[in-house]
Structures are given as C-alpha cells and as structure tokens.
Amino acid sequence: MVFLMLRMLPGDPARVIAGVLASEADVEMIRRQLGLDQPILTQYATFLGRLIHLDLGQSARTSQPVLNEVMARLPYTFELALVAITIAVVTGVIAGVVAATHHNSRLDYLVSAISLFGVSMPVYWLGLMLIVVFSITLKWFPAAGADQPISFVLPGFTLAGFVVGLITRMTRSSMLEVLRQDYVQTARAKGLSERVVVYVHALRNALLPVITVVGLQFGTLLGGAVLTETVFGWPGMGQLLVDSIFARDYPMVQGITLTFSTLFILVNLVVDLLYAYVDPRIHYG
C-alpha cells in the first residue's frame, strides 16, 4: 500500500536523479539501473525483496543501519508484550468467566466496575502509582531496568492494564451468550459437573470472539508499550521511538513504525489461523 502511494506521486524519479540537462539516453539508462523500466509488478517484487532483506536505511543520528538498532530493541518490547498479554488473558478470561457464571450478582458488578476502571485509566499513570507503592514505599520491585526477571513485574502489570478490562468484558458477554445454548443444557443434563460444563464445554466456544479482541488489542498493547517503556525506562522499541522523534531521526521513526505495524498485521494473521484451531467449523482453503 505504501509502495503504491509512492508510485502514484507525479514526477519521474530517473529524470530527477539525472538532472535537467541530461540527454534522453542518460535518463533511459538510469531508469534501467533503478529498474523503473520494468513492469509495475516486477518493481513491486523488487521493493518487497528489499523489505525481505530488511533494508530499512540508516539512522540519521547514529549512521547505524536502522535494522540493527530495531533488532537490538525488539526482544525487550516483545518479551514485555508477551508477559503483559499473558497476564491480561489469564486475568481477563478468569474474571470474565467468574462474572458470567455469577451473572447479576454482586461479584459480577464488582468485576464489571473494575474492568470499566481499567479501560478508563491512563495506564502510564497506573505505572507511576505502582512505582510509588511497590518500589518506593514497599521496595518489593525495581522501578526501572530490564536486567532480571523481577524487573518484568511492574511494567508487565502496567501494560496488561491496557487490555485486561476489554478482555474481561468480552469474555463475560461471550460466556453469557454461550451459557444459554442448548448444548450447555445437554452437558448439564448428562450429569457433568458445573466446572466441566463451564470450562470445557462453554469456555472453548466462548473464546472465539475473545481471541479476536486479543488480536486487535495487541495493537493497543504496542502503543501502550511506548508509554510503559517511557515510565519504566525499559530499553525497548517504544523508548527508541520516542527518543528518535525528539532527535528528528526520521529513518529510524519510519523503521520502527513499519516494524510495529508489521508485527500488528502478523499477529492478526496468527489470530485468523487460530480460529481454525479453536473452532473446527472454520476451514481455510
């Protein structure tokens, strides 16, 4: 898409490079060098080829290839996102199931209220408050750094706060829907324990929309990573992005944004494939 937009811009890049005085033959030669004489599909393939080789250009600030810097930071962000999404899915799904199985009880209202709080909270603020309570007052966890497993606790929970509310709400409504279905009645009627009915029969079917939300929320999580990493001085891509924006390092900003959206699209592809695993009714091809 980005490629097409660039191609639709008016002007001939070969002529620009060759200069105003260049002869028609020179322009033609440069055009051939750049591959612009090739059909548009071939050009697209070349562009993709460069992207596959991850040729993202050089950082304006450090003159290092953008790719190297991004790759150095990516694992930190990825691990943090993984920790956060695990916390969020486990907490959110359990809370959602509990709320749904105790529909309209006080517990249900409590869970709904907490998840609404979670959705409304500026999570960078949650991070700061966690630092105040757990690092400064209680001295349980470090406030910054990423060098030991315990460093993951506070940023992990902070980042999880971004998405746990939505996962809870989605699980709850999806479970309520499924628990009304006939096959849940059947499972109950044949004498299965409530636990088996809820967790084996109902939950598996209720998870499909939840997986969609998790996939979409992964994007929110990446955005949240930028803020969370700033709060905790986490050496990930988000921090690098903010630093690069301040330094007006545009190739770097471009490279990181491209990496973020690629990750986002990849995760949603994985989510689509997961559907088929969770729901055998869905087939591809």
């Binding site: 898409m1 980005v2 937009m5 609404l116 709080f117 959705v119 409304s120 909270m121 500026p122 960078y124 603020w125 700061l128 408050m129 630092i131 105040v132 400064i136 709400r169 409504s173 309520l176 829907e177 992964f218 994007g219 929110t220 990446l222 955005g223 949240g224 930028v226 803020l227 700033t230 709060v231 992005l241 903010v242 924006i245 301040f246 900003v253 944004t257 973020f260 959206s261 986002f264 699209i265």
Partner: protein, 298 residues
Amino acid sequence: MHTSTPAYTMDESLSAPARRSTPRFWQLLSRHRASMLGLVVLAAWAALAAAAPLVTPYDPVHQKLGDALQNPSMAHPLGTDYLGRDILARIFYGARYSLAIGFLAVAFGALVGVPLGAISGYFGGWADLAIQRFIDILLSFPGFLLALSLVATLGVGLENVIISVGISSMPSFVRLVRASTLSIKQLTYIEAARAIGARSPVIIFRHVLPNALAPVIVQATLSLGSAILVAAGLGFLGLGVQPPTPEWGSMLGEGRNYIFSNPNMATFPGIAIFTAVLAFNLLGDGLRDALDPRLRMR
C-alpha cells in the same frame, strides 16, 4: 436529532412519534444511574474549567520557586509542583485544555469521518474503494501509534495534537456510518426520495445521515474518553501541548521526574484524567442503551 416539527400541535397524542421520543430518551437515560453519575462528573469538570479563576486564587503558570514541591496544606490543597505552582489550580485550568482537546479532536474526527462514511456507503464503487483503502492504511498503525506518528510528522503543539488525535479517531466514524448507510439506503423512504427526484447530497444529508446518527453519538461519547487518554499520553511523552500550559498529560509527564521525592505531582493529574475518561465511558454506555437497544452490549 428529533427536531422535526409536526404540522399540527393541537392534540398531543396525534403529534408525530418523533416528538415524544426526546422526553422518552431522557427517561431512559436518567434511569441509567451509572451514566447519570458520568454526566454529573462531566458537568462538574466543565464548571470547574469554566470557573477556574473563581475557585482558585492562584495563577496556573506563575512560578514561585520558594514554594516548590510543597506537600498538601491549607494554602495549597494538593501541594505545589517543582516550580512552586499550585497543583489544584493547574488541574482546574488544565481541565480547559484537556477537555477542549478531546472535544475538538472528536469533532474533527466526526466531521470528516461521518461524511466520508456516508459517501463510501451511499455511492459504493470506486469512491467506496478509495475511502476504505485510506482507512485501512490508518488502521494499520495500531491505536496510539497513529496519533504518535502523526504528531511526529506534523510537530508538537495544541493544533497538531488536536488534528492527530482527531485523525486517529476518524476510522471508527467512517466504518460506523458506512455500515448504517449501507442498510439505510435499502429502505423504501430512500427509494421514495429518489423517486421524487431528490439529488444525492439532499438524500444523504436530509434522509440518510439523520437516521444514522444515534450510533454516531454513542461512538463520539466513547471516543471523547479515548481522545482525552491519547492526548494526555502524547502530553506525557512531551509530544503534546508544550509547557508551561497546564495540560493534564504534560503535568503527569513532569510529575514523573519527581516521582521519588514528590508523587503528588503525578498522582493528582492522573486522577483528573481517570475521572473524566471514566465519566465519558459511563455516559457512553448509558447513551447506547437509551438511544439504540440493538447496540446494547450483550
């Protein structure tokens, strides 16, 4: 929305159902206790923002270094920040900026997004294709990152924050209005309008959009909450409204540097953001139930 005046008003019971639906809407909304709470909180914030000079004697940008980093006291109920400014005063004045940014950004997103969605849904064809691909491009930058990269391109400052947050709130309006338009244009009254020779712009603005507005109002309320969150996030990173303007997000960002010695500076602006966003979310949920039962979260 329901402004149609019936030709006759002699008998209440004969007047058009549209007339009755406004009080009914209030009835439904006022029964929703959580959304009433949201409305009250928002009204309180709006009043405090408007009357800021009356409720606090302090100037939000005047520095008094001798009073820096004080704890809450009678003179300064929430303490002072690192430049000796009263935190409470800055929060009240900050409400002006944070709420205004939210409103203007969502207004921008809705004013651009709603017509785009209507055009996309009504005409279909290449217009639909072009608009949807454009929205796809916007959506491939997840959430906060879209606003962040727009600000990185446009530069920081009040207007650019409003534009960036506005653009990132736009896709949901386009999608929403497109979907409603697609179903509305199948209805007989649109066919009737076309049959009597109404032109497309007239049909879109007089007949399609008024009937597609209910979900837009809900979406706008919910978007206001997230717009305030996103704008405050930009301010927190130092990429939003620039100092010394008292904006909640940038106050929080400044507070971060003093988190070890003086957590007040970060705590209270955060509470302000949280209550405002929560209020919009509560109100949005209530509006959704009152305006359109079909949209109710199951």
